[in-house]
């Protein structure tokens, strides 16, 4: 991508691609609550529903980056609230590892974020998407993005 195009994407209405992993019981519900509360948010995110954040394999996250995601969000229930006892504790451990690898690969920390969102926190979900979108718009497209993917 030319430098020109890169600056372009930063300023105009380029919409980043954000993959949000959500657990069925909390953060997916949070996204639903955002809908019910009509909390408006940028149309940049696509949600991948899993039953528990514990299901999220680091490979899924890298897969998302390699498929052109500009940011990947790992979300789940608040610690202690996991529907499967402690799935999110395991997520936390895996996330630490993920963070390190992402750092090694030169991925900015804004592009990989962890957030615990309960089913009632619709506004929080919407704000999260809004904030991440704004951060990524500043950064521009992901360095891992394959050629040709918007």
């Amino acid at each position: 991508m030319s430098a020109e195009a890169a600056t372009d994407t930063k300023t105009n209405d380029w919409e980043p691609k954000i993959v949000a992993f959500c657990c069925n019981w909390c953060s997916y519900g949070g996204a639903d609550s955002a809908g019910m509360g009509r909390f408006q948010q940028p149309a940049s995110a696509r949600i991948i529903r899993v039953m528990c954040s514990g299901r999220i394999d680091p490979l899924h996250v890298f897969n998302a980056f390699l498929e052109g995601a500009d940011a990947v969000l790992v979300t789940g229930c608040h610690i202690g609230d996991c529907h499967y006892v402690n799935g999110n504790d395991k997520t936390k451990i895996k996330y630490k590892y993920l963070e390190n690898v992402a750092h090694e690969l030169g991925i900015e920390k804004e592009r990989l974020q962890l957030n615990w969102i309960s089913a009632s926190e619709g506004e929080k979900f919407a704000n999260f998407i809004r904030d991440v979108t704004a951060q990524i718009k500043k950064l521009g497209p992901s360095p891992l993005k394959p050629e040709g993917v918007a």
Binding site: R38, C52, K94
Partner: protein, 1018 residues
């Protein structure tokens, strides 16, 4: 005794009662007088305080009712009389002539299209017309046409007959007659609802003017399926109004027309309608004229605050005496505002917030069947038995028992079901059928995906270009069929989906509509009915995650919707059929908390024939009722408690453990293992279901109004006790909303107004000379409690309204208050100042950790759905009742307790529990036997076993893992942790997830349709 129940009334109350009974093993007749079930809820656009779309949450219940093998629907039928006795009733039902053969009609609607004559549409509250042969609304159940005999040209004049000619299945039958049938049932549940108040008797409100409409009419105007497709317009000239007024309490709180009750719901529905109207048109000015704003329920106060803060809705504390019609038919209201004096203001549209009147049919049926009514014309009940009518074996729920909102109605419905089921528990399962699905069809090897895109009225369709999404879906690889639907969840759409599966030989189904959290089971069942395994289904959420959150960016929303559908399609192509297993369950329950709610829940479960253990932390049963000295009907709590505790102790199915605490819980629905600590010993306790009834506690208002410093300042709870002993104060001032409805604690305490009024009456009755002042912000004596408020005023209790920003001041011996109505400060000599404080959450955090059940922001428990699942948790097998959910009055807590018992019995009565279908499985060849999965799994589902491996003449023994499907919950943690990639989390496999990620925003251009795979365009 008969194992069957007749439920009279097919609104949300009747539907819930019927579903609970049918799920607990009873044959249930649901009798509804209108052509379709659904009641008034089906006419609502949204529900407060979450603004959930009413039809969206109701429709799945309608469909479930119609499908339930144990429910027999008798729509368009009236109950003439009930005779007999508990266990053996005869119910006479008149099936009214529809002039259409129910067994032949397919609901296709050709007849309604061609019918030349028109009738006022009851569903749209008379604001539009439907044909003389009609189906009342899109999601109607049963979906059968009905002829309005009074207007049909053939039936009145012998002319026309066009419907008969066009009807393909030959269902129209002009000769049909009313038929009378007699049902023999063990019990009857009355859920006859209410009649909206007819404001035309209040001539001064000028209901004859086209722009004076009822709140129900306004609700229809807001609805996408209403007469104006959701555009609020004036009936007079079709123009958009600018200034709208709501007049509250029309037909409520009005002794002159013998409507003394408060209708309980109008303040909140007016608030809701105002918010929705403002969302449609932010330019609107909306004013609500009211006496008190009664935002007493869970999250109501917060909703009311939002209406003012975020939507700029104006609330004026005044009741205009009349609607003035001036020159050119212009409307205005003259009212007295305490700050500005008498004001006259013009309005374009005036909405009368009409109350709930007892239905005439309820009265008639009660009279003919000897069922007692209360002073207001509701079916009479008592505080301790809120769902039992005066006739044993006949139960009541919903507004037929007194005005109430939807969650309270639903709770009572389950409660009535619990009572009927307990009565007939010996006959459980004798008259029912098993639900049968057709055999699964042979799947063709390549995916043939059907995509159904829902408009959801205008919820999706007004933002997302639905036809565009359908077009797009057609281009996606593997898609064999795509179409749009107005409401994908309605019964006709279900039929259409099944039809499409058969015609197009579909082997995967994607519905693009709302959230799978509520609607997945419905569509999965549709698939099963069409011979498809339910796991071949995927929901693409384009409402909550798209149209609702991008409502201003139509194009982007459409693009995103396409993307979401694309991901769902890609994922679904990989789906494989999965099967559930049946495991046994423990038919025993536990109840946490031995207060009134806990004891009631336990008794109901025990009377349904199941063993139950009450775990109480105190030495004795009774909870908060022990602190009370009189109920609002004058009964002594001690007597009530004595009887209740006697019943509990005398029931051989109930075991009480006092001074006990639940320490640990593991397991799942039907098979929980708990550890209880009692008397210093740990005790194992296995159970299949649990009811949380841990109550709440009174707020100690430390630091407020000199509490704690001045001994003459006490709380209402303390005062309650003092009254029991007798007190000698002559000047008593009560202050309401202490520590509630403020920044720190936004909610309303719900019970405090009733308690204050009750105690004020007690003082006055004991000593009529005593001066009693109640300083309040809004008096929230909702429903039939209004009677207490009236009583108190008659007895000379003085009520003074104060404003939140100018609260009373307590100074030694007197209280200084700014009287908002007189606009001056008054000093009230007070020997005793009583502070009404709200209930606050108890030690809910411990239990929420144990069961992994959520709390709301005030630390009360969060139910599964605020409207339709008020006593369920999202986690299966655990239920909720009483003040642990939110503050409530005793009869409400009792209703909820019975409801929780009913819900628990729908589980305890099962023969087996079905496991998850989407469990994880191990590929033995890849497994390296490391045991990571064993450590990771919280349910002990994986275990290692020895295998002997034979490779190329080498034989060795190693570990392999296997997963027990019965204990696997399908969280997928093991699959994510397995270092060898040997575990597949079925339905959420890495392949399926990967396929969805790959499909993110591959533009249509990049898809090669002929080849059927996704290519990168470089």
């Amino acid at each position: 005794m008969k194992g069957s129940v007749a439920v009279v009334g097919g609104g949300i109350a009747g539907i819930q009662a019927a579903l609970d009974l049918a799920d607990s093993g009873f044959k249930t007749y649901l009798i509804e007088s209108r052509p379709s079930i659904g009641g008034v809820m089906s006419q609502l656009d949204k529900t407060f305080p979450t603004n959930d779309c009413a039809m969206c949450i109701l429709s799945p219940k309608l469909v479930e009712t119609a499908r339930h093998p144990n429910i027999e629907l008798l729509a368009y039928s009236d109950v003439k009389s009930i005779s007999g006795k508990a266990g053996d009733f005869k119910v006479k039902v008149v099936k009214k002539a529809r002039y259409v053969d129910e067994t032949k009609c397919t609901g296709c609607g050709s007849c309604t299209e061609k019918c030349p004559s028109k009738v006022q549409d009851e569903y749209n509250a008379g604001m539009s017309k439907h044909k003389s042969i009609y189906i009342p609304f899109a999601q109607a159940i049963p979906r059968i046409a009905t002829i309005d005999a009074a207007h049909c040209l053939y039936l009145t004049k012998g002319k026309c007959g066009v419907c008969k000619k066009v009807c393909g299945p030959k269902a129209v039958d002009y000769e049909q007659k009313d038929t009378e049938i007699e049902l023999n049932v063990g019990s009857v549940v009355l859920a006859t609802g209410f009649k909206p108040f007819d404001p035309s008797i209040l001539k001064n409100y000028r209901f004859d003017h086209p722009d004076v409409i009822t709140s129900l009419q306004f609700e229809r105007l807001l609805s996408a399926s209403g007469p104006t497709q959701g555009h609020v317009t004036k009936q007079s000239d079709g123009k958009v109004p600018k200034n709208i007024a709501f007049i509250q309490c029309v037909g409520s709180r009005n002794p002159h027309i013998d409507r003394k009750h408060c209708s309980s719901v109008c303040c909140m529905y007016a608030t809701k309608e105002s918010i929705i109207a403002k969302e449609h048109d932010p330019e609107l000015n909306i004013t609500i004229f009211h006496i008190d704003i009664r935002a007493y329920g869970k999250n109501f106060e917060e909703f009311y605050n939002r209406a003012q803060r975020e939507y700029g809705i104006k609330y004026i504390n005044s009741r205009p005496p009349e609607v003035i019609v001036g020159a050119n038919n212009a409307l205005s209201l003259k009212y007295e505002d305490f700050s500005t004096g008498v004001v006259t203001q013009d309005f374009d549209l005036i909405v009368l917030s009409i109350g709930l009147d007892p239905a005439d049919s309820t009265r008639a049926l009660a009279q003919s069947s000897g069922i007692a009514l209360d002073d207001f014309g509701n079916i009479a009940t008592s505080i301790e038995s809120p769902v039992e009518s005066s006739v044993a074996g006949i139960y009541v729920c919903g507004v037929a028992q007194g005005p109430k909102d939807i969650p309270d109605t639903v709770a009572q419905a389950s409660a009535a079901a619990s009572k009927a089921a307990a009565l007939l528990s010996g006959e459980r399962g004798t008259l029912i059928k098993e639900r049968k699905f057709p055999d699964e069809k042979q799947l063709s090897p390549l995916p043939r995906i059907g995509v159904f895109v829902c408009h959801c009225g205008i919820n999706i369709g007004s933002v997302v270009n639905v036809p565009g999404v359908v077009e797009y879906a057609r281009t996606l690889p593997g898609v064999a069929h795509a179409r749009e639907m107005l409401y994908a969840c309605s019964s006709d759409s279900q039929a259409a989906i099944k039809d499409a599966i058969a015609k197009n030989d579909l082997n995967r189904v994607v519905v693009a509509s709302c959230t799978p959290r509520t609607h997945e089971p419905l569509f999965q069942n549709t698939c099963r009915e069409a011979g498809l395994n339910p796991y071949l289904f995927e929901l693409a959420n384009i409402r909550e995650h798209c149209s609702w959150v991008h409502s201003k960016e139509k194009e982007r929303a459409t693009e995103k919707a396409k993307g979401i559908v694309q991901m769902a399609v890609a994922k679904s192509a990989l789906f494989q059929p999965l099967y559930k297993q049946q495991v046994s369950l423990i038919n025993k329950a536990i109840v946490l908390g031995g207060g009134v709610a806990g004891m009631t829940a336990a008794l109901d479960i025990a009377n349904n024939g199941y063993h139950v253990t009450i775990i109480e932390k105190e030495k004795e049963l009774g909870g908060m009722l022990r602190e009370m000295t009189e109920l609002y009907d004058g009964k002594k709590p001690a007597d009530v408690l004595k009887e209740l505790i006697g019943k509990v102790n005398g029931n051989k199915n109930i075991n009480v453990i006092n001074e006990a605490k639940l320490l640990k819980v593991e397991g799942y629905l039907g098979n929980f293992k708990g550890v209880v600590l009692a008397n210093g010993k740990e005790l194992a306790l296995d159970f299949g279901a649990a009811v949380v009834a841990t109550g709440a506690r009174n707020l100690e208002p430390s630091g407020l109004f000199n509490y704690g410093k001045d001994p003459h300042v006490v709380t209402q709870a303390q005062f309650e006790k003092m009254l029991g002993k007798g007190i000698s104060a002559n000047n008593i001032t009560m202050i309401q909303c202490v520590g509630a409805r403020n920044k720190e604690r936004e909610y309303c305490g719900r019970t405090c107004c009733v308690d204050a009024v009750k105690n004020a009456i007690r003082i006055k009755k004991a000593n009529s000379k005593a001066n009693v002042f109640v300083l309040y912000r809004d008096m929230r004596t909702y429903g039939v409690m209004e009677k207490l408020y009236e009583n108190a005023r008659d007895l000379g209790v003085i009520f003074i309204k104060y404003e939140a920003d100018n609260p009373p001041k307590v100074q030694g011996g007197s209280v200084l208050v700014h009287d908002h109505m007189l606009n001056q400060d008054i000093e009230l000599a007070s020997d005793l100042v009583v502070l009404s404080t709200p209930l606050v959450a108890g030690e809910n955090e411990e239990i929420n950790q144990l069961f992994k059940i959520p709390l709301d922001r005030n630390k009360f428990f969060l139910e599964a759905h605020p409207k339709l699942r008020p006593v369920d948790f999202a986690t299966d097998g655990i239920f909720l009742c009483g003040s642990a959910q939110a503050p409530k009055l005793m009869d409400e807590a009792i209703s909820q307790a019975s409801a929780a018992a009913s819900r628990a019995c729908t589980i305890l009565s099962r023969k087996f529990i079905e496991t998850e279908g989407a469990v994880s499985v191990v590929n033995e060849a890849k497994c390296i036997g490391c045991g990571t999965c064993v450590t990771v799994c919280p349910y002990n589902a994986p275990s290692l076993y020895d295998v002997t491996v034979n490779v190329e003449e080498v034989t060795y023994t190693t570990n392999k893992s296997k997963i027990n499907a019965a204990s696997c919950k399908g969280c997928g943690s093991c699959a994510a942790a397995c270092p060898a990639g040997a575990i597949t989390a079925q339905h959420f496999s890495s392949k399926e997830i990967g396929e969805a990620i790959d499909a993110f925003d591959k533009g249509v251009k990049s898809i090669s349709i002929e080849k059927g795979f996704v290519e990168m365009t470089v």
